[in-house]
Every structure is written in C-alpha cells, then in structure tokens.
C-alpha cells in the first residue's frame, strides 16, 4: 500500500474552522454570511473528492500534526472508511446548509450567526473524526463535536432545551470521559500505541476478561452511537432546530459515534482478536436489543421527530451489529449502512422540518391528508422510508441485503430473525404515515374540496428532493463506496 | 479543638523527638553542622574579607543574598501595616485644648475648623498631661540612644552588632519619643513621606550596591568588584561593601519599625494614640 503525505486532510478540517471568524464578522449581512458557508462547504467537499482517486487506487494519505508521545500523536489518515464517511458528511453539509437557510429564515430564528458558526465547527470536527489516524485524534474530534453541538441543542434558550441540553451533555460527555478516556489510556498503557491497524494493536497482550471490559467500555462509551441504555439523549436532543437534527442527529454526530465503534472494533481490537475471544456476539446481542426495543418505542411515538429519533437509534445499531458480525459481508453491510441510512434519514428529517415550517405541525396524528397539500415532500418521505426500511429501489436495500448475507456467512441465523423483525417494525412505523398523508382524511378537508398545493419554500424542498433522489441513485451505483469499504477494512 | 490540638501537638512532638535520636550530642565539636561549612567560614573569612566578626561576614557577604530578602521582608511588613491600617479619613470626634486655660473643646463635625492660631492644641480623647520627669529624661536619653545606634551599625564588622540591631535601636529611640511626648510630636518631626522614602531607600542601597557590583562585571553583591569605585585598599573592599550594606539595612529597619509602631497604635490615623 502506498503512503502519501499530504496536507489535504488537515485543510479539510481547517476550512470550516477558518470560515467561522468571517461568519461572526459578517453577522449583520446574512447573505454574505450564507455565501461564505456555501463557499466553505464546496471547498471542503472538493478537497475530500480530490482525495478519492488516490484512496481508490489503494493509497493511504497521512499527515501528522503534532506528536504527543510515541504512538499517540495528533495525526490524520485518509483510508477507505474515513473517505466514505467524509464524503457522506461533506456532501450532506452543503445540502443541509441550503436547507437551514430556508428553515432558519422561514421561522425567523434568533442567533443565526451563532447557529451557523457552531454548525461549521461541528462539521469540522466530523471531518477530523473521519480522517483520524489514531484513537487519540478520534477522541479529540469526538469531544470537540460533543461540545460544538451543545449550543445547537440549547439553541432555543428555554427551559425545555435546557433540560435536553443537560441530558445530552451528561450522556455524551459523561460516557466519553468516564468510559472511553480510561479505556483509551489503558490501551496505550498496554500497547504503547493507539494507531489504527487492521490487525489490531494488542498482539496477544490482552486476556479475555480484560478485552471484554475494554470492548464494552468503548461500545457504551461512544454514547453518540445511541446504544441502549445510553440512547436517551438523542430523542431529547430533538428540541434543536431541524437542520441540526437532520445533519447532526441523523448524520454527523451519531455517525461519528458509530464510526468510532467501527474504528475500535476493526482498528484497535482487530477482527481476529474479537473472533478469537468470540466477543462479536456480545456486541451483537447488545445491538440487537437496541434494534428491537427502540423500534418498538418508535411505534408508540406521535411526535414525528421523536419517532425518527428512535428509528435512528435502531438503525445505528444495525451498523454496530454488522461490524460485530466480523464476516466480510456483514461488515460491508454495516459500514455501507452509514451511507445509506444517512441519505434516507436526512430526507425524513428534512421532510419533518419542511412540514413544520409550512404548516406548524409536529405530530403524526395531525398529518392526515397533508400529502395532498405537500406532494413532493411526502413523496420524498416515502423514498426516505423505503431507504430506512431497506427496500428497493433505494440504497438501503443494499445494506440490508449484505447484513442478512453476513448473518448467514457467520452462521448466526437467530440474528437474521432480528433483522427481519426489525425491518417489519420499520415498515410499520413509517409507511402508515405516508399512507395517511395521501389517503387519510384530516379534520380540515372533510368537505372533500380540492386541496391547494402548498409546499414549503424552495430552499426546503430542493434539498429533500436531492437527498431522496440520491437515495435512489445509490441503489444503482453503490460500487465506488463498496470499493472504499473493501479497501478500508481489508475485506 | 482542645483535644484536636493536643493530638496534633503530641504527634508533632513525637516526630520531632524521634528525629533527635540520630542527632549528634549537644555541643559536639565533631558534628557535621560544626565541621562542614563552619570550619571553612572560621578559617577563611578573615583572610578573604578582613572582617573579624564572622556572623556579620556570613550575613552580609556569603549569604548576603538572603539578607537582602530579609530586608525586603522588613520593608514588606512596614508597607503591609501602611496598606492595612492607614486611614486617610479625618476622625469624626475631635478634641481641642485651649492651652492658656486648659479648657477642652469637643467637635463632632469633622468640617469645623478652629480660627484661633496657636492657642488651641489638638488633643486625644483620653489625654493625660505629659509628665515633666519622663519628658526630660527621655529628651536627654534619646540622642545618646541614637548615637549608640549609629555605633552599633558602624561597628558591626568588629563586634556584635550590625544594621538590624542598629536600626532597631534607632527606631526605638523614635518610638520612645512618641511614648514620652505624644504621637503628634513624632509625626511632626518624622513625616510619613520621610519614613516611607527611607524604608525604600534603605533596601535600595543594599540592592544598588549589588547591582553596582554586577555592572562592574562581577556577580550580584560581589563587593570585591567595587574596588575602583571606593577609596580604599583592595583588601578592605569587602568590609567596606558590607558596611554600606549594613547602613542600608539600618535605615530600612529604623524606618519600618517606626511605620509599624505609628500605624498600629493610632489605628492608621497618625494623629492620636499612645
């Protein structure tokens, strides 16, 4: 494998960071401010994209920033896995920026400059996490991301957001300091390195009980992944403005949590070690539990964003589940679900936000018949649902397919049942919404009069249409991403 | 608290006594303390500095750096008393005595002024007429005390004495004046500005000598380097340097003693008090 030294990963992280002072100084001129955001978004995306060919050709791009101690430095590395994640986050950032303009202006939110600044900080941290070369760097960006999203969750500055923000912080910061930090330092103490390597870093220095404890500390410690019982921050964090929920709580933040777990399983422990101790099953049990229980909870939620949140929790566990299968197809299915779920879920959140801006409705029970008023939105919602459930013609099908294949490969037939059951549950909590929206009768249109089409403004509709179409596109062209994952995980 | 204190005292005392077990006997000429540095000082000081009083030599030369900070500590104490207690607000209740008649006047408003010139005297509330005998004796004594103080400073090199001792004696002569007459008499003669300038100046003489040595190319406080500046034979130069330093110390200590006294007895008002 060829190793290239390049400053590009650092630049990718720095671009959104450097644009923050400009955003702050142009707070009186919203248009200028928004232009800068797009500029930064595109520059960042092109930087990421420019590294794709190199990564696809099997090279690895590295850049070391600072050395703390041997084996533990602040360093970047771009491999297939990180590239996949960076592509997802980078492309969706641009779309979300467009969406948030429509949303924030549509609702005349306060503190928009603060909002976009911390948004940029959050995306910078996400990129950093994607390109981390070792656990220390990953932890660094993980923490920055936690703190950058705090003001976003607390955006409304009222009692409800105060409680939610507090819960968010207690779970995220508490677990990362209380579990990940000691586990990480212990790893360093044992091995003297924290750099990711597909063979794992332990090389037989770990007994089974120690490995189990460490693994559990990591899996629960990265609470952004929403593994139960550390999931309840996510529904609470839905008080944030919808763009935050969309990008951060469907894509960036939660996926960083899952991504960290994937990194730990594949890069720190290594597949062989876990297979040797048979620890994959432990993680799978935890993930399965989360999948089923949160799906059931999602069924009972009436607030759309909360239902989406619980759905997210269960979908995140798919990824963890897939990686913990330790079989090639399972890992492929799990990791590619990062991509597929991101596009599906962000579409759903965009729709929820668009509905709220256009009609002020938050609850599913109020949405009967709304599909005739907002056909584009609900069509997108339908596509997004299909993606999350895992039905063709959306990319979600591809990941679900591989996951099920993986369970068969690993010989874990019981867990296949889990996947199937949860898919049914997914269908149960999404499809009725769409059905009711198009064919149900709301209170207002008892008269049967023809409803006027009344979509939200273009800034809102365009992004959700784009992501919905992308979701379908991924069904037909997943090959590049499959290659990235295969390279990244050495499958 | 009493029991707690007792326990602490017992523990500390026990530790200290335990420590004495391995200490050399009292007055043992062979103990490390009496041989290692001590022998060097006793045998080499006169040769190196021409100062027969070893304590002065070690104090002002070998450990002159320590002594400089010691003087700074004294300065600190004076400044601390000033900072903590000095009160510039005039006192509300004031008493005046009409000197020819001995009548006392009590003013409750600080703004009130007396027009008559020298006939009135600002008084303490619990004023007692000063005793003739005490006044006279002190008046005679104070100059002698002060001369003695100067002698102690100047003779620190050869006999017991030095800047600290001399300074304290000088300061106490001034305090004696305040006690035998009253505080106002002292404050009138030795103003606050005078004292504070002298306190700083005294330490400054010390540090200045050291810096001068440094400017002449030596180490800080290396009096030997002052030879070109002082009219003396090179052998004596360290002794002269020490004398200069002792004078500085004396000035500072004298001023600070008086500052502390004045501030504490008058609660910072500099008008009434002992």
């Amino acid at each position: 494998m060829e190793i290239l030294i390049s400053i590009k990963p650092l630049l990718t992280v720095l671009v959104p960071l450097l644009v923050i002072p400009i955003l702050v100084s142009s707070s009186q001129k919203p248009n200028v401010r928004e232009a800068w955001i797009f500029g930064a978004g595109f520059v960042m995306f092109f930087l990421v994209a420019s590294m794709v060919p190199a990564v696809l050709s099997g090279s690895k791009i590295v850049f070391t920033l600072f050395e703390l101690a041997p084996g533990a430095d602040i360093a970047f590395q771009v491999d297939g896995l990180g590239m996949l994640f960076a592509l997802v986050a980078g492309s969706l950032y641009i779309v979300t920026s467009l969406y948030s303009i429509g949303y924030m202006r549509g609702l005349k939110e306060h503190g928009q400059t603060r909002f976009v600044s911390f948004f940029a900080l959050a995306i910078s941290a996400t990129m950093g996490a994607a390109f981390s070369a070792n656990l220390l760097t990953l932890y660094l960006f993980y923490e920055i991301l936690s703190l950058a999203t705090y003001p976003l969750v607390a955006h409304h500055e009222d009692a409800k957001s105060r409680i939610s923000a507090r819960r968010y912080l207690v779970f995220i910061l508490g677990t990362s300091i209380g579990l990940v930090l000691p586990a990480m330092i212990y790893c360093y103490h044992v091995t003297g390195t924290l750099a990711f390597s597909t063979a794992g870093i332990f090389a037989g220095q770990l007994s089974k009980p120690a490995a189990t404890v460490l693994l559990l500390m990591f899996v629960f410690g990265f609470a952004k992944a929403g593994i139960m019982p550390f999931h309840s921050w996510l529904p609470a964090a839905m008080v944030a403005p919808t763009p935050v929920s969309a990008l951060l709580h469907a894509v960036a933040v939660v996926k960083v949590g899952v991504f960290s777990i994937v990194r730990v399983i594949t890069g720190i422990f290594g597949v062989d070690l876990l297979a040797h101790f048979n620890l994959g099953v432990v993680v799978m049990v935890i993930a399965s539990f989360t999948i089923i229980v949160s799906s059931c909870i999602a069924l009972s939620q009436d607030e759309l964003k909360r239902r989406l949140a619980f759905s997210t929790i269960s979908q995140l566990s798919y990824i963890v589940f897939g990686v913990a299968l330790l079989s090639p197809s399972g890992q492929l299915g799990g990791v590619i679900h990062i991509l597929m779920h991101a596009f599906g879920k962000i579409t759903l959140f965009f729709c929820a936000g668009a509905i709220f801006v256009a009609t002020g409705k938050k609850y599913i029970s109020q949405m009967k018949g709304l599909g005739r008023q907002m056909p584009v939105t609900f069509a997108a919602f339908f596509i997004g649902s299909l993606g999350v459930i895992g039905l063709p013609p959306t990319g979600g099908f591809y990941s679900k397919w591989n996951l099920i294949l993986g369970t068969l490969e690993a010989g874990q037939t019981i867990f296949m049942v889990v996947l199937l059951v949860s898919s049914f549950l997914n269908a149960f909590y999404f499809l009725p919404i769409v059905y009711q929206a198009f064919f149900g009768k709301g209170k207002d249109d008892l008269s049967g009069a023809r409803v006027k089409i009344q979509e939200a403004n273009l800034c809102l509709v365009l992004p959700l249409a784009i992501t919905a179409l992308a979701s379908i596109g991924l069904f037909f062209f997943p090959q590049m991403f499959v290659d990235l994952i295969t390279l990244g995980l050495n499958l | 608290m009493k029991f707690f204190g007792f326990v602490i005292v017992c523990l500390t005392g026990g530790l200290l006594l335990y420590g004495t077990m391995d200490l050399p006997d009292w007055g043992d000429p062979g103990s490390p303390a009496s041989t290692h540095l001590s022998d060097y000082y006793i045998e080499h000081i006169v040769e190196e500095t021409q100062v027969p009083n070893l304590v002065t030599a070690v104090l002002a030369d070998y450990r002159g750096y320590d002594t400089m900070f010691e003087t700074a500590v004294v300065f600190c104490a004076g400044l601390a008393c000033f900072l903590l207690l000095r009160d510039f607000r005039p006192k509300k209740d004031r008493y005046f005595r009409h000197v020819p008649t001995g009548v006392m006047l009590h003013f409750k408003n600080p703004q009130t002024r007396l027009i008559a010139g020298n006939e009135f005297e600002h008084m303490d509330k619990d004023w007692v007429p000063s005793d003739m005998i005490i006044k006279t004796v002190c008046r005679i004594l104070i100059p002698f005390i002060q001369i003695y103080a100067l002698y102690v400073v100047a003779h620190g090199d050869f006999s017991p004495g030095g800047g600290f001792q001399g300074g304290v004696i000088f300061g106490s002569s001034l305090i004696l004046m305040a006690i035998s007459y009253n505080l106002k008499t002292l404050v009138k003669r030795v103003t606050e500005k005078f004292l504070s300038v002298f306190a700083a100046l005294g330490v400054l003489i010390y540090v200045g000598l050291g810096v001068a040595a440094m400017l002449m190319g030596g180490h800080f406080l290396d009096y030997g380097m002052l030879a070109p500046l002082l009219p003396s034979d090179p052998g004596h130069i360290r002794a002269l340097g020490m004398l200069g330093v002792e004078i500085g110390v004396g000035i500072a200590v004298m001023a600070v003693m008086v500052i502390i006294y004045i501030n504490i007895v008058s609660e910072g008002r500099h008008d009434e008090g002992l």
């Binding site: - | 070998y62 900070f69 600190c76 900072l83």
Partner: protein
C-alpha cells in the same frame, strides 16, 4: 558570565522600591515602573529558558562565592519552565488588572503594585534558588505579601481569612524551617546539591526521615493539600481580584514545584520510593484530596469559592502524580504545574472581568453573561473545558500522563479519582454555563430583550485571549514540552 538569572529576580525587586519612591512624585508612575520591571523579568526568564535548553543547567553564584559557602541560583529545565510561567502570568495579570485595582483599591494602588512586585519576587526567588534556607526566606516574602494583599479584599471577611492564613502559613513555614534545621544538623550544609550528596551516605537516619516529613508537611500546608487546605478557599475567594488572579494560579503551583524539587533534587527519588514506604499512603491522600475538593466544589454557590475548591482538587492531581513513583506520573505532575497555572489564570481572569462589570460572583448574579460578555465567557468556557480535560486544551494532556502513570503504578484508585473529578468538574462548569446561558439577565430589564453587549475593557479581554491561546498551544505542544523539558530533567 550571564547575569540573566539574577536579573530575573532583581528586576521586580528593584522595580518595587522604585515604584514606592515614584509614588511620591506621581501615583501613575508606579504602575508603569511595575509593568516595565515585570517585562524585563519576563524577558530574562525566557532568555534563561532558551539558554538552559541549549546549554544545560545554569548556576549563578551570588556574591561570587562557590556553592556550599555562598548561595547559588541553580536553574535547570524544571525551574526555568516554572520561572517563565510565573513571570509571564505576573506580567499579563499586571496588564489585565489595572482597571480592577482602580476599582477596588484606588486610594492605595501604588502600594498594591509594590506589594505585588515583591510577591512575584518571592515566587521567582523560590523557584530560582538552589539553597534550602534561602528558599525559606523567599517563601516568607511571598507569604507576607500574600497575607497583606488578601486582607485588602472583602472589607468584612478578608482580614479574618488572612489572619487564619497567617496562622496556618506560619505553621507550614516553621515546619519547613525545622526540617531544614534537622537537615543542617545531619549534613552541615544548606546547598541543595551539596545536601543531596551528603544525604546519600546517611539514608537510614531517623533525623533525615524527620527532616523529610517536616519539609514535605510544611510545603503541603503551604500548597493547601487536603486536609491542610482549610485556609485556601476563604483566602482566595475574599482576596481582591487583581491579586487573586495571580495568587491562585501561582502560589500553589510554586509550592508543588518546591515539593518536586525537594523530592527529586534534595532527597532523591530513590530514597523516597525505595527506603520509605509512604508513597501508597500519599497517593491515597491525593485521591481523597481530589474527591473532597471536587465534591465540596459542588456545594458552592459562588464562582470564586467554587474555583478555590477546584484548586484544592487540582493540587491532589499534582501531589498524587508526583508520588506515583514512576516517570510518567512525575511528568504528568510537572506538566500539570504549567497547565494548571494557565487554566486557573484564565479562569480567574474571566472572573475578574465579570467582577469588573457586575461586582458579584454569586451564581445568582451570573445570569445572561453569555449574551452580555461573549468574549469573556468564551475564554471562561475554554479554561473550564481544560479543567474538565477536553482535548485539545492542555488540561487533557497532563491528565493523560497522570492516568498513564497511575496505570503503570497500578494505582487504579488514582486513575478513577482523576476520571471522577473530571466528571464532577464537567457538572460544575456546565452548571455555571447553563446559568450564564439560559437565564436572562434580570438587570437588563424586560423591555429590552435585545442583547446589549457590556464587555470588559480591551486590556482585560486581550489578556484573556492571550492566555486562551496559550492554553491551546500548551495542549498542542504538550509532546514537545515533555520531550524538551520534562523528560531531560527527569533523567
């Protein structure tokens, strides 16, 4: 001959007396003299540090006498670093505090500056000296000045707090003096290096043990290690803020330095960890200190008090780290001297700004601060995160070494205490952040919900900004600091 080590101490000393004289001419002059003196000292400290890094330990013979006879300044990597820290903080604080001093003690500001300079002289002298008794004299200068300056604070309670501090401080200093007495009786010398050589031959002596215990106890009292900390919270909370800012970060840190110096240079680590069996007990004491400090801080209702207890907690970090008995722990402790100095300074700078604008620091007075003083709060948040130990702030990296050292020594209770205190600090700081963020400023009035920015003067903000940058820089370059300063020192 390089006179820089002497100049470093003498510049503020001379400055103090000139400032005292100048005050009789023009009050303002004394401030500028103080500023100039500190600038010179700062410059000298930096030049000494670079010299020591390039050409090794510096010795400066006071009055030209060779070491055991005369007093020497002995500056190696450790104290060079601490000297830079002290002079830099003292200088920056002088810039930042001029307005606070005007506000709090306007009528005797010149005397304040004189005292302030003498305090700094004491700290610098303590750090630079190579003589045990000289150390005592200089400790007394710092103590005497700090008693006085603390008493200038809160009119009602500061004198009492200061008097308590005197009693305990005198006991501490006297213990140290007694310890030096025992050392002198057994070795006949006062020079640290000389004493260390002689001590190697008489390690079994009960007198040496007593001397060691007395010295260390004395230093512990002065640094306020739990349970000898009772004087600290009141003293620091009631002190005038211009002084609290410099005494809080520096006084305890310098005492930790003295402890490290006594352990490493005078008594020798071999003696402490191999001949004596105290290390375990001391680490447990440190654990208690950390937990007690952190949990007592939870119950405080005033920002200054809370910070004071956090200092108590941080002292536990350093003492525990130094007594772990391995070089990682010692590295962490030494690094934490630097880092904690910076963090505490930044926190108190922010507190000073708040006091300047609001006069009060009770939690109930902090509402709406994020809106009113965004820059001050940005610095405060950064310092708070550093105390919590979030990367890339410097607090994380010293914690890293401390936990690593704890693992290596098998002191898992110490590692646990560090993690728990981080969590408690997170609770503490986010409690404050919440109050400042969510609760609207009652003073601003309801009719004017638009946020009025009432920031502190530029000089104060610039200082805070500078220290914030230093916090990040110390974090990023933690590896460099360890490699160039701490590890060479320990070898």
């Amino acid at each position: 001959m390089n006179n820089m080590p002497a100049i470093l101490v003498l510049a503020p000393l001379l400055g103090a007396f000139f400032a005292c004289l100048a005050a009789w001419i023009q009050k303002q002059l004394s401030y500028y003299i103080a500023l100039a003196a500190m600038a010179v000292s700062c410059f000298a400290a930096v030049s000494v540090l670079t010299d020591v890094i390039t050409s090794g330990t510096m010795q400066y013979r006071m009055a030209g006498w060779a070491p055991p006879m005369g007093i020497e300044l002995r500056i190696d990597l450790l104290n060079a670093m601490v000297l830079v820290l002290i002079s830099a903080i003292a200088f920056v604080n002088l810039v930042a505090s001029v307005k606070n001093v005007e506000q709090e003690i306007s009528d005797r500001a010149p005397s304040f500056y004189v005292m302030y300079l003498l305090f700094v002289v004491g700290l610098l002298g303590v750090t630079a000296t190579g003589d045990l008794f000289n150390l005592y004299v200089l400790i007394e200068i710092t103590s005497l000045t700090s008693y006085t300056l603390i008493a200038l604070g809160d009119k009602d309670r500061a004198p009492l707090a200061a008097l308590n501090y005197i009693f305990i401080g005198v006991i501490g200093a006297s213990f140290y003096l007694l310890g030096v007495g025992y050392l002198y009786i057994t070795t006949g010398s006062l020079n640290m290096a000389d004493v260390a050589v002689i001590l190697k031959g008489i390690q079994g002596s009960s007198a040496v043990l007593t001397a060691f215990i007395l010295c260390i106890l004395g230093v512990w009292i002065k640094m306020a290690l739990f349970p000898l900390h009772v004087w600290l919270p009141n003293a620091y909370a009631f002190a005038p803020v211009g002084f609290a800012r410099v005494v809080a970060p520096l006084m305890t840190k310098v005492m930790v330095y003295v402890m490290v110096r006594l352990m490493v240079t005078v008594f020798g680590l071999e003696y402490i960890f191999e001949t004596l069996n105290l290390a375990d007990a001391v680490v447990w004491l440190a654990v208690t200190a950390i937990l007690a400090g952190a949990f007592t801080a939870l119950f405080q209702k005033d920002l200054k008090k809370m910070l004071a207890y956090i200092i108590v907690c941080e002292i536990g970090y350093m003492v525990g780290g130094a007594w772990l008995g391995n070089s990682l722990g010692m590295t962490g402790a030494i690094l934490h001297i630097l880092n904690d100095g910076l963090m505490t300074f930044a926190l108190f700078l922010a507190v000073g700004n708040i006091i300047y604008m609001r006069r009060q620091t009770a939690f109930s007075d902090l509402s709406g601060l994020f809106a009113a003083m965004p820059w001050t709060m940005a610095g405060f948040v950064l310092a708070g995160l550093s105390i919590i130990g979030v990367p890339p702030t410097c607090g994380f990296f010293s914690k890293w070494y401390l936990v690593l050292g704890a693992f290596e020594a098998g002191a898992y209770h110490f590692a646990a205490a560090l993690i728990i205190s981080s969590l408690v600090c997170a609770v503490l700081f986010f409690k404050v952040f919440e109050i400042c963020f969510f609760e609207a400023d009652s003073g601003a009035g309801d009719h004017n919900p638009a946020k009025v920015i009432t920031e502190a003067p530029v000089s104060m903000l610039a200082s805070l900004g500078l220290v914030s940058v230093a916090i990040i820089a110390a974090g990023i370059y933690a590896g460099t600091i360890v490699d160039t300063i701490i590890l060479p020192f320990l070898q």
